[in-house]
């Protein structure tokens, strides 16, 4: 039956579902995207989906909207991309505005002030967990010593010298682009030294 629907309706339904069923931000929603695009509607196969995801991850910016735009574009060019992105983000955007507007209207009530105060430690724990995850990726990718050195340099630049985060990230991106080449050279030199010694 679903085969009879036109591509726009399929796109809209798939993106609506991924938009309202996914919790925890874009990356955690990727399995739902795979289910809609590969299993349910067969717009693409597993291998291609994996490839596109890898390419999308090489670009900065939110991942869910990149994938929605790509799938929409693949099916129906620009208008497909627009439909996919809009259906993916609008329900949650509107819910967010409605809910927070309600909170703002009630913001003088003691109960609402208490609720906001009660949730702040939870937000701190969630942010702390994310900080830990990013830290873990760093240490896994760079090794313990070099990883910790990079934390120290980031902290120094951001919090002591107070350089704008955009500039700090650019510096790290610039070094990152040559990191594996430099690391490779260093390894080679050490090997040569071992052979010579």
């Amino acid at each position: 039956m679903e085969k009879k629907q036109n591509a726009y309706v399929q796109l809209a339904m798939a993106m609506l579902r991924t938009g309202i069923l996914g919790y925890g931000g874009g990356p955690s929603v990727m399995p739902l995207f795979r289910y809609e695009a590969v299993t349910r509607y067969k717009w693409t196969d597993d291998e291609e989906f994996g490839e596109i995801l890898a390419i999308a991850n090489a670009l900065p910016g939110p991942i869910a909207t990149k994938m929605a735009a790509y799938l929409g574009y693949k099916l129906k060019k620009t208008s497909g991309a627009v439909v996919a992105v809009l259906f993916h983000i609008f329900p949650s955007s509107i819910a967010m505005i409605a809910l927070l507007s309600l909170v703002t209207v009630l913001s003088h009530s003691k109960v609402v002030i208490g609720m906001i105060a009660g949730v702040m430690p939870v937000v701190a724990v969630m942010l702390g967990e994310m900080a830990y995850n990013f830290g873990e990726k760093t240490v896994k990718g760079l090794g313990t010593v070099f990883g910790i050195a990079m934390f120290a340099v980031s902290f120094l630049l951001l919090e002591t010298v107070h350089i704008h985060p955009a500039i700090v990230i650019m510096i790290f991106l610039a070094y990152g682009s040559v990191h594996f080449r430099l690391a490779g050279k260093r390894e080679n030199r050490e090997k040569e030294r071992d052979v010579a010694g």
């Binding site: 609720m115 939870v122 942010l127």
Partner: protein, 180 residues
């Protein structure tokens, strides 16, 4: 500068620097929203993040929609969303063929790896900021107690974060409304 241009620029900068999807852009968005343009204060930002995490859907666009709407109405909402989504979505479609070649390149891998420590530190600083505000507002024992229970629930019991947020709202509404 008109507010919709600020919204577009602010959200563009925060999202174009975040590698690894929406969550990695949270500290960058904090920097634009709270520190730079003062669209929200710390407690409003925390509240938004809590509700944003309790609702489904991508986090970056929920934040952009809410802050954009608050600062500039419907025009602001579209400006903030455009700054968040358009550059990376258009880039993916236009550069697909080129990127295909570089997907496995050590240059791209090195860049996405070296962003991680900066994001980790920004996230840690933001955590500290929220913890400090919370302690100032409800005292160290309440704040630490709630944080400990939240940590136990999410990390050890693996309870869904949305439920933990709802529980914290309930506790705050019933108990903390007599404290603050």
């Amino acid at each position: 500068m008109r507010v919709w241009i600020q919204l577009m620029v602010g959200f563009f900068i925060a999202n174009v620097l975040g590698y690894g999807g929406g969550p990695s852009s949270i500290p960058l968005m904090y920097n634009e929203i709270v520190s730079h343009y003062h669209w929200l204060n710390d407690s409003e930002f925390s509240n938004m993040l809590a509700l944003g995490n309790a609702l489904p859907g991508p986090i970056a666009t929920k934040i952009a929609a809410f802050v954009g709407y608050g600062a500039g109405g419907w025009v602001g909402l579209f400006a903030a969303l455009a700054g968040t989504i358009l550059p990376s979505a258009v880039a993916l479609i236009l550069l697909l063929k080129v990127l295909h070649k570089y997907r496995q390149s050590p240059v791209v891998k090195g860049m996405s790896l070296l962003v991680q420590p900066v994001i980790a530190i920004m996230m840690a600083v933001l955590t500290w900021q929220m913890a400090k505000n919370s302690i100032a507002q409800i005292g160290i024992w309440q704040a630490l107690g709630i944080a400990a229970v939240a940590f136990w629930a999410m990390q050890i019991r693996k309870i869904h974060p949305a439920l933990v947020i709802v529980a914290a709202f309930a506790y705050g509404g019933i108990v903390l409304s007599h404290v603050v």
